[in-house]
Symmetry: D3
Subunit: 248 residues, 6 copies
């Protein structure tokens, strides 16, 4: 099977890290196609950036599925555009926050999240509520680092993440800790080993759960909430991102 | 004061109706600037369309506030891009769903919503949960009409809306009924008069609440969730929608 | 339009402060009628006092609407008698807690409340739950001052309120702070200016939202929860507070 | 021990029925003092009536405890003035709705309530939320009878109650049915016998739970939410209902 | 009436303490039958122990009711096997956590629990959610003592419990404190007296509430959730615990 | 990897069906060990049966992991003994209800469950609440068939299940339907194909998610809620089910 992993920002070094993680956990026979759009922001830090990432993300998702992807992983912990992607394709689409929270709830009683900037906290709390994990999520902690610090000053950033992971275990009593940014994907293994508590990276979790859903033969239900977008005219610069044959 | 009312789709006849409603309720001294972006979908029916509307909506919001708007109303019942707009500007930003639900909770004990297509139902239910009205919202009903039917076949569409409004009152015991699409803005008065139950249009509600917030001297808090977007590079076609001086 | 603002306690100096605030935010053309009953407690600190304030509050509300008020504001942060007043009249009735929480949710992501005595905390928490703001309300803080200290020792009281407002911003991460007593109505502007965070007074918020509801032509739904009180006999001292012609 | 049972309306025939029920379930050694105030409404149907009943209820409660009552039962299914009474006295105070819901949750998995008029429905739903039974309460049904119909036309009223009890069992799958008005207190036994499902009268439940709390030596906690009312001036007609020595 | 109090572990000294408490609060005419099974763990500390206690608990419950018990109390704060017991018999069955939480909610506004080991915390939090007290329960505190320390080193254990009770009052603002283990049953009175805050032992509470339910003539509803177990074959060692005549 | 799939009842024909399903979805390289205990009930229909199944289930789980299982699936839709098993072993343990609900939430917006007898409904509703899916679960439907009817009269039973699946889609608007009993595991594929809506069998879902968790290197957190059972004496017949070396 082929799993499309879309990093919705335009930073290719982060895409490389995401690809490495995906490849490391992929089952034999799973092909990983990791990429990022050419259009959009270099990092996603807040709702505005998320909005600006969507046309690129949606286009890559549509193309990737047209080219044969069996499932899609959105590799941003905001789960940007999750529902929009589900409308657009019929293969399973998973967000990495969604997958990480599901995995955490299966191996520990309550979890905390360690993310980048404080502005991500309310976004992740809202996701926990949407998915139903509001009682399982003990705290969302911000390491106070911009997303790209994980690329540019990765040692210092990693140390800040580690400090919050330790605090989550000691202060929150977290029985699993989620790394709340796709750019932290390379830190999970060492932190799990050090702490003895499951430290979960959403990219890896989403790839494995995507394999599971494909293995189950499940597809996104196209009735109701995720029915295909209705054909219509899209104007101006956005028309370039619309499905072929649907714009005027 | 000047209130910017952005219809996030590109259908100008709907913008005209929205402007009429806004003007009809605006206080003396309130200037209404109602417009729609040139870029994006002709109507917003689901998450994909919402995503495609955001760059245009955000650009119009940024420009309108730079030109002196004291508050912004997003005239789509999905409250598209509400948090992203709040990040971008410091004046109050209101969604019409948010405003309508707030108004309804002040004049009746529980409300129902009548919207267009069934696919809007989960979106509006999610908004009710986000705003805290999940216990107040008795039911979201779909009249089974596409958004543009309200423009193109308005008589038949209005009759379907009316039937659901009556059902909301009789079957749900709704003590207020919200019209769940900006394109229904012209139907509220007659339905209120006919039923004796408050039938609330979000455009009108949002304009009046925006006046109230401006009158209170309140601005969007720029600490925390709605801090300004961080300066960064936006690439490709999206760069055209980014704030001046922030793109590479 | 005429807005009746009822301070449900009998302290006229507090009524004067409330009137000043209401007048300061009222739109041109809005007449403010601020008053307090002659019967009842000098301040409302807990459920017993609230109960003792209701006959006077209800009588003033009934009279004020009979004399032409277009909306009613209950100027006590317990929102005393809100539902009872809504039963009695058909114009919109707003509590200042309700209005302040609605305003806060429109300009910040989560809010805290600063009230007077600790005994008010569970009352305000219960209101947050009733209105649906239990997830938005981060904390209700008590400044540990009796209500009348705001009248009699206003400088010391104001300083205690200020300390809690600062703590709400720093410790709770509040993106809006509500002043949880009508007697604090004169403190909001300076605290907003000092902190840069919206500090919201419920009296002002309720007056502006009342203007908005009247401007929308909305009235309290008289079906269901707020149907008029049924005609019946009221005996003894309470008969004096009952609607004319309904008592035996 | 002595249990004070206050019917907060002024209809003595209802008080008689309530006394009969209380006496029927009281343990040997439990003295029942059932009474109603002279001041207030003949029945409580909605928030306004509840407000008008409080001064009388509070006065009877204060007097009864001063005269030696070991616990207080408020015999109205709205649990009128429950918190205010708890502030005023230090013996346990129980509402009949609270007691009935607690009993129901101990003998069945989910319950429904059968009350009088539809306007009582939102009041009882709000109580279920306050007490934490919102997931246990399947439905609040109104038999569409005024409270006093239970006195004046008791046969017809009883038949309507019975029909709703049967519907609660068949349609809601209720595993317990609460009689949602103190005036229905004489109907519980026959309906339990007929249906084989626990049909619970709150008056009886509250008397037995009051006995239990007294037997446990528990008193209302006077720290925090139920601290005694602060001494202060109560003016006008309400002063007559204030505690001796506290008014000016 | 006869109340069967089953300590589901096999430690008879704890059963003795439980019996003492039950006898101390039982009404004249209430016979207490306190016992523990011969099969199972010496203490219940977690889900595994709870599972291992169930066959013994169920057998004692079935026998005790067959021998005439009018109600059953399960004397473990995990409320082990509560629903299974309710299926098996038709008399009321009460857990001591359930009873203590119900009592606490009647005499204070919010409560905390003091239990033994940290591993009991999520179990008690889950019970609070199941019963609907999740908003009333401020915190579950662990005194970090094994269950049997209450038997073997009771002085030191009691002191640790006392420290947490004091912290619950001061730090959590608890208006009632529940002793979260049947082995603490002898500590409640002294702690109540010392603190002036209701310190509630579940064994006592459950005995009194069981008396109340029996006094009300209430039985467990045998329709729906608590219908009798269906006759079937139970094999192997478990067959010894199955109802006579039902196994193959 | 080796996945242990324990059917906690003693009906081997059901175990055979479960094994077939597990084998059908297992990845190459995954060994399936499907078995049932010799001790316990022939089917699990309610809390009593669940309790009687636990000693056998726990023993098989302990043995299977000691023999090298990398993950455990509990193949009963009540997720019997899930937390107890998690305490006992350190490999991931999944319930089939848990897995099915997680899968459903990834491919549709809201789901319904079709189970066997009405008595299973409250059990499954409680699981939905525990896992956080209470808002996603639209309805739990009972096909009114005993568990073993799926073995003995499988054609008639399958037809009843099918009717409820269709009703879930049409009446509840379910975008995924869960088969709420391990005995229905062979019906999922045909119902998915017929309806075009994901019809999800928990056995298959749990096997695939177990593979995913093992592939991620995740283990059950042994701090906190799932710490190993404390060594202690287990007496009587239950001692046979206790871990070697731990009983007296």
């Amino acid at each position: 099977m082929r799993i499309l992993v879309v990093n919705p920002n335009t930073t290719s070094s982060m895409t490389d890290k995401i690809r490495d993680t995906a490849l490391a956990v992929a089952a034999p026979g799973t092909e990983i196609l990791a990429l990022n759009p050419a259009d959009g922001p270099v990092s996603i830090e807040g709702h505005y950036d998320e909005a600006m990432s969507l046309p690129g993300l949606l286009t890559e998702t549509r193309k990737g599925v047209a080219d044969g992807a069996d499932a899609v992983v959105i590799a941003c912990f905001d789960d940007s555009g999750l529902e929009a992607c589900r409308e657009m394709v019929d293969v399973p689409v998973l967000g990495i926050c969604e997958a990480a929270m599901a995995a955490a709830s299966m191996v520990g009683h309550g979890f905390s999240v360690v993310t980048t900037l404080p502005r991500a906290t309310p976004i992740i709390e809202a996701l926990a509520l949407k998915y139903g994990y509001e009682r399982h999520c003990r705290r969302v902690r911000a390491a106070a680092i911009p997303v790209l610090a994980l690329e540019e000053d990765s040692k210092a950033a990693a140390e800040k993440v580690r400090a919050e992971v330790l605090a989550a275990i000691e202060e929150d009593g977290a029985e699993a800790v989620l790394l709340g940014c796709a750019g932290m994907t390379d830190l999970a293994a060492a932190l799990s080993a050090e702490t003895g508590v499951p430290v979960i990276d959403g990219v890896a979790a989403a790839v494995k759960f995507a394999e599971a859903l494909v293995g189950l033969g499940l597809k996104t239900c196209k009735r109701g909430a995720y029915a295909p977008p209705r054909p219509k005219t899209y104007s101006g610069a956005l028309a370039a991102f619309a499905p072929t044959g649907k714009t005027s």
